[in-house]
Symmetry: C2
Subunit: 610 residues, 2 copies
């Protein structure tokens, strides 16, 4: 194994006062390969004030991420890292700190109480520390997997980035506790797919759907709704790409944006621009739910595969569009104006295939429920072989993107494809899913679904803050488990979901009564939410509910639209039998980790300049 | 961190023929600390022929084990390592091999098919390779925990050591597959407790209970029974220590030995020496079950704590003893004679406390059952607060040793002490338990049990080879879950165990019928084993049985002897409530692992001499 000879340059300097700005002047440690010459394609502000800005790139060949952290107005140091759900406890951190004399960069972890400890193995590897006019730039890298049990495993899906600002020197790393710092989190898809950008047709035109110079409300959360319409006589086109337009200076404010098309049945939609929960909002806007484009913080442009596009315009397609912008304004900034939106790239030269969106997962029904006080309860919805056999074309479909969706208690979502009783492939998986960060994600590799395949979507919920069962439904306090998959060629199948057979659920309530004191009313008048509300939740009723959902037959919604089923018998269907599950891949430890430093790196610090 | 400068000496030599004996002449790599000057207190033959002999010591301060492997009649190399249950696949291996030119020592792992791969991190560290008149001696060390996900974690309890003999050179490590080698396993408690040996009283005398020059049968497994008796008029004494006596040359043959005392009620027991399953065996021997001493392969002398001894002799104590020797003779050696046994050290100066043995875990009853085809099904028995409150002295008891017991499907056993609803301490735990290796183990730290404490004993079973449910009971094809704890001062409490309430089990059978096709006869004539035999085992009936055992009230046996309960209500007792569980300790990775070599070590080889 080749160990490149480390080069290290140093410059003596002096540390000023405890709260002085300090400056890292020189390269502190340049180990391993030189910093990549390629630019950083991904960039995101970490804090609402934009003091910390992260840029990164991903090397799938080396299985590592290069990070470039820009720190504006550096005080006495900074923490940056990752944790399971964005908490600053049990986090995996890169730390730049000073003891008032020297400054150090090290790989650390925070314990359950937020106290920092140095990792025995240093996996955040500092490559360069540089002063620029904008601020201090730290360049460092981290392997996806370090095999240090304290470290975060960088996986596909959402990553919760965390940060903290050190305002003063600390005598040692162990003296730092995150609970005493200004800290925060930012969600991002760190491992962006490495997909070649398909060429755009020569006749590509653009259309901007933007907020009309909105005055952003000075409240933490605003969903802004704006209605616009396609030009008169706009014929059928294919959207082939779209990208965000974020008003300069508002990068930390604009959390996500979506463009919806209204239902074709609507003759007209009155103009509107205002908060989506406003009483002034036209009722018809609730019929504007067909997604044309969706963007969330950290996402880049979305390209359709070369052979497909999303149809809009022309007969049978509404002229009315709804833009929804989620402003996240925790600092309650006043008077900020915004014209962010989405730029659609479309072509009149229709591509070979129309793209479609299909809904997988659970039917929105209270028969699927989560007991309260569960740390990780799993519900699963099935798109059965019978449905795919009937509704998919003989050549199958290709899923190229996916948007996962739950309400507030969702913590993980995964869809797996099974064929012949064997799990074959993961369609999409997010083990750090957050209902506050739902983006359409391109799949790293498109997934082909054939007639007879089964698609299994499982969601994991945390109901530790709930007193009663959480039932399925449309309400924000009810739950969903959905994967909107984007695919081509478009088929009539819009919805392939399931829920437990209601008769078996009634058997469950009878059984609970038999083992307890007949708390659950099993009379016909009782509604399922009422029945769930009266279940005495103990280890038995919890486990048996989970066992029921893993055993009882299901009702399948194999639908052309939300109300129209394909012909056939869809009730009391057996659960798909799965003989062989996909194995979790064994974590691959970086081969070269013996070369990382065993302790923190000393960083030469310049003092002075307050 | 100090890195001792590695010293390496080499000597050129030549390799003879592919099957020639090769000799490692010189120290190959001497890294880290020098080999320990202390001798190796533990020693065990690995293979039935005694070609491989392992000695080891344990450093709890450094959290590592030094191994000294003696290889007699070395051919082209040797594998040594550990695996979950003694299989040669998915094993963690140290490998000495030659490609015909050079020889190498490396840390490797075998995949599911037995093929070897080099570990990215080399944690078996070779300290010395030396030729002695007896054979080649390899000295190497391994941390308990390496944090390499392919590596075995060395824990308390049983460790399955594995070995393999390389008969010929291999072009590379990857060319080796364990399925083509002569291999085997040996079970051992690797992490022996580090307890100071208590001094023996000056009047200590010894008594040998030995097999009477037995001709060992030429079959793989023999349990030999031999009846002997105490001298006439032998008064009450305390056993304070015992140790094995193994006939020289039979070290690999004698697997375990136990000395039992017969029931005091027996007037006399006829003499006998023969296989325990012989038709000639006197029926009364089944009343000789009170353990006085037990030894298993790899165990050393057993010392009672300084303030306690095991009473035997005198009025109320049978004069008759039964020695049981398990001969393990896989090579079916003919004509071997054996006089192995146990030497008891006893004193007439009775110590302050009598030691006692108490049985924790599950009652022997078919109501506790394991479905077939389970990979890891857990049953739990409770010694409740009500029982310890009633039966233990106000000052409590101290448990100093433990013998875990299940029948053939047992894979893990653990006893945890809980107080005030919180798990406090592990009494004994074996995550690699084997029913073929049951020894009395001294606890690393004696456990105090007070009035009102709860002792929870859980056993994990694997029934993948069974077609029908495995019910609790005495039969070898039935199951047990028992921890015999050795403690002082002796109390009247001999047995503190539980089983599920039989009425709740009948509710379970009703429930199964409701969700299936009424397969289980719930009429009063049906026996519980018959009922379990007719359960349709599907995911629901399996999970609900597990949920029932985790929820339903229990019958508690809080007994003075197997038939006499303490006074009180012991049926329909609630399960102990546990609010807080002990956390699994996070694996501690060796701090210095950055210093281990990144690849195999070249070992200089001398050829020649066949």
């Amino acid at each position: 194994m080749q160990v490149p000879s480390p080069s290290a340059r140093e410059a003596a300097s002096m540390y000023g006062t405890a709260v002085a700005v300090f400056l890292v002047i020189l390269v502190a440690a340049l180990q391993g390969s030189a910093p990549p010459e390629s630019p950083f394609p991904y960039r995101i502000p970490l804090d609402p004030e934009g003091a910390l800005e992260l840029a990164w790139n991903v090397s799938y060949a080396q299985e590592l991420v290069h990070f470039q952290l820009l720190v504006r107005g550096l005080k006495a140091g900074v923490l940056f890292g990752m944790s399971d759900r964005g908490q600053l406890e049990d986090a995996d951190l890169a730390v730049l700190w000073t003891d008032g004399d020297k400054a150090y960069f090290g790989d650390a972890w925070s314990d359950q109480k937020g106290q920092l400890h140095l990792d025995p193995q240093q996996d955040y590897q500092l490559l360069r520390a540089q002063r620029t006019p904008a601020g201090l730039t730290l360049l460092f890298r981290r392997p996806f997997s370090t095999c240090d049990p304290r470290d975060y495993l960088i996986e596909d899906g959402t990553v919760h980035l965390v940060y903290g600002i050190l305002e003063q020197p600390f005598p040692s790393l162990e003296a730092i506790n995150t609970s005493a710092l200004q800290t925060g989190l930012q969600r991002v898809q760190l491992l962006k797919p490495d997909i070649a950008v398909p060429p755009l047709p020569p006749d590509t035109r653009t259309m901007e759907v933007r907020a009309p110079d909105v005055l952003v409300p000075s409240q933490e959360t605003t969903y802004w709704c704006y209605v616009t319409e396609l030009p008169g006589g706009f014929s059928r086109h294919h959207i082939v790409m779209y990208e965000p337009i974020v008003t300069e200076g508002n990068e930390a404010l604009v959390h996500h944006m979506e463009v919806f098309q209204c239902a074709a049945e609507l003759e007209s939609v009155p103009p509107f621009s205002g908060p989506c929960d406003s009483k002034m909002k036209p009722a018809r806007l609730s019929h504007c739910r067909h997604v044309l484009a969706a963007w969330a913080l950290g996402a880049k442009a979305f390209y359709y595969p070369e052979e497909a596009g999303l149809a809009f315009g022309g007969p049978g397609s509404s002229r009315f569009l709804r833009l929804e912008v989620h402003y996240h304004n925790p600092l309650r900034i006043h008077g900020r104006r915004d014209s962010s939106g989405i730029r659609l790239y479309y072509t009149a030269s229709l591509r070979r295939f129309d793209a479609g969106i299909m809904e997988l997962g659970l039917v929105y029904t209270p028969v699927m429920a989560i007991p309260p006080q569960e740390e990780a309860f799993v519900l699963t919805g099935y798109c059965t072989d019978k449905c795919t056999q009937l509704a998919l074309p003989p050549s199958g479909i290709r899923i190229f993107a996916s948007q996962l969706h739950t309400h507030l208690t969702g913590r993980k979502v995964v869809t797996v494809l099974a064929r012949g009783g064997r799990e074959r492939e993961i369609v999409n998986k997010d083990d750090h899913y957050s209902p506050h960060f739902q983006e359409i994600r391109m799949l790293k590799k498109a997934v082909s679904v054939h007639q007879g395949d089964v698609l299994i979507t499982s969601c994991t919920y945390n109901t530790e803050d709930r007193k009663l069962a959480t039932v399925g439904g449309f309400g924000i306090l009810e739950e969903m488990c959905v994967n909107y998959v984007h695919y081509y060629p478009q088929t009539q199948l819009e919805l392939c979901k399931s829920s437990v057979d209601p008769g078996f659920l009634q058997k469950y309530f009878h059984l609970v009564n038999r083992f307890n004191s007949e708390e659950v009313c099993t009379c016909p008048q009782a509604s399922v939410p009422e029945q769930f509300a009266s279940v005495p939740w103990n280890s038995f009723s919890r486990h048996v509910l989970a066992a029921l959902y893993g055993f009882a037959p299901v009702s399948v919604h194999c639908n052309k639209s939300s109300a129209v089923r394909f012909q056939g018998e869809w009730d009391l269907q057996p659960l798909p039998e799965i003989f062989s599950k996909l194995e979790e891949p064994a974590p691959r430890c970086p081969a070269g980790r013996g070369q990382s430093p065993a302790g923190p790196t000393v960083v030469s610090i310049g003092g002075g300049k307050g």
